[in-house]
């Protein structure tokens, strides 16, 4: 032991140095291996994230339905299984909340559904006048925009499709009023939106 730790002859010294170098090399290699092992393998995580992103992007583009306006809205359930198609969205938010609901065309709130407004239009509908003037103007503007786009882009066509996304508490007269107003603006393909009931 003492010979090993304190070499006497030159050959022993050489052997000692060589041993020491080998030991150091081994230790260095071990250290570098440890560093590699400690690194997280990000490739698998990247794979997962990329697949998830592609799936989400696809779902995002397929879903023709989004509810962009503020206000509360609770959509009724339905057993139907028809997929929503791209259409102009007409949203009616809850009229029962603390703040008055709104009628929105796509993302733009057009009319505030105050109690006075509702009473006024219900009376007008009873007399046979179902047109909500502000909504009609907004829809006509939308129609002109789509038609202008259709004249430039081949894929765009004005097909008169309108999707009504309404709160489940909305009275039928308001739904009918909105549908009648849409018909006046040449939107006659109605789709009522609902949440698909799980079977």
């Amino acid at each position: 032991m003492s010979q090993q730790s304190h070499p006497n002859s030159s050959s022993e010294l050489e052997q000692y140095v060589a041993r020491k170098k080998r030991k150091e090399k081994r230790a260095k290699r071990k250290r570098s291996n440890d560093v590699v092992a400690k690194e997280i393998n990000l490739v698998a995580m990247m794979d997962v994230l990329t697949i998830l992103l592609i799936f989400l992007l696809k779902s995002y583009s397929v879903s023709a339905l989004s509810i962009p306006v503020g206000g509360t809205i609770s959509i009724p359930l339905s057993k139907q299984t028809i997929n929503p198609k791209e259409a102009v969205k007409l949203t009616i938010t809850s009229i029962k909340g603390s703040t008055p609901g709104v009628i929105a065309v796509d993302e733009e709130a057009i009319v505030e559904l105050t109690p006075e407004f509702l009473a006024q239009y219900q009376t007008r509908l009873q007399k046979g006048d179902y047109t909500i003037k502000e909504v009609k103007l907004a829809l006509e503007k939308k129609k002109r925009l789509i038609k202008a786009m259709a004249s430039i882009v081949d894929d765009v066509v004005f097909d008169g499709k309108i999707m009504v996304i309404a709160d489940k508490e909305t009275p039928s007269w308001l739904i009918l009023s909105v549908l009648g107003t849409s018909a006046e603006a040449e939107f006659t393909q109605y789709q009522l939106a609902a949440v698909r009931k799980s079977q």
């Binding site: 990000l42 994230l49 989400l56 879903s63 057993k79 999707m163 508490e169 909305t170 039928s172 549908l179």
Partner: protein
Amino acid sequence: MGRRKQHNDEMGQELNLVPYMDIMVNLVLFMLVNIISFLSFTILNTSIPTLSDGTSKDDQLAVRVDVESSSYKFVVTQGDKVIVNAVLPKIAGPDGEKIYDTEKLLQLAESAKEKYPLGGQILLNMSANVKYEDLVSTMDAVAETQPGLADLFIEPTLNILWGS
């Protein structure tokens, strides 16, 4: 020698994936928060009454459901003649509240479709204050069909019924 060393160094360098990961994680989170298609949506096609040219046949079969505030009225007519006239009052629901009897309505719709050569059209006369939720459940009931069987009434026309 120097060029080979430089080339080896470049090959040995790992791509810095951290910024890419940052973007991806943020994008995924943003989309997860925004996306609503996990709630799968559906649509119900409908129409509203149009002006007729007055050429309808007198013996034409027609079916309608009057959705009144306290009952359904299922009516089948042939011209002026009423063939079926059934009233389905609201029933007690699971929470004790009164709900429309959609099951009975479905049975009536099925039996009428079996008995008479009715098409897919149906008129839904909605009482003015009936909720949209009830409108959807009524449309569901009259359109529902068993797998493998022909559709019931998939072309509902909506109309308003005042004073009921």
